[in-house]
Symmetry: C2
Amino acid sequence: MINMMKEALGRQLIIDAWGCKNLDNDDLVKNMLEESAKACHATLLSVHTHLFSPQGISGVAIIAESHISIHTWPEHSYAAIDIFTCGKEVEPYNAVGVIKRIFSPEKITLHEIKRGVPEDESENG
Amino acid sequence: MINMMKEALGRQLIIDAWGCKNLDNDDLVKNMLEESAKACHATLLSVHTHLFSPQGISGVAIIAESHISIHTWPEHSYAAIDIFTCGKEVEPYNAVGVIKRIFSPEKITLHEIKRGVPEDESENG
């Protein structure tokens, strides 16, 4: 019964960053997506951003290992970032250094969610 | 001290769907993204999908209210779906009916995360 830990199919790192700079800079948001993919050893497939009026940017990078997303609220100096990865070669936490360098957050919180954890069959076995 | 509940900037509905059909059908994955946006009363801005070899699809819809994402593992009949919204006009749970209709999951789990909850200042006030 030891080592019954189930492998998740994916890992989702939920990042909330407060006190950020540069949240209305499309080039820097794209840089964050591209450089985060690289830092995590992910394979970048495409990057899409949308600029809102009067402010705010949504951006998504599709990576071979799932996605990286960002939504910015410059009026609150806040960004919501997800690093969703699968596979053992990819390290989502490596994106945190990129986020700190580009947005200089005063505060950052990290929560990891496992996605696609097979149902525990141990109660039946 | 009553009604000190802080408003979140965003709501993220985390959906894990097991026992799904149609997970390798790009048209249906796009339909799910488009119809979920409509059902949630969100404004669709763009849809992007990527088909993997030998199987699996990643798809993202950028909506004016944040994003909808899906990653499918047909070999596990599993899909990881996020409905990330902001604003009071949008109802992310309305996507669940669309997901059930298109993928016919045998089991579906929902978890809601609040994003961008301002730090609680009540301890200082």
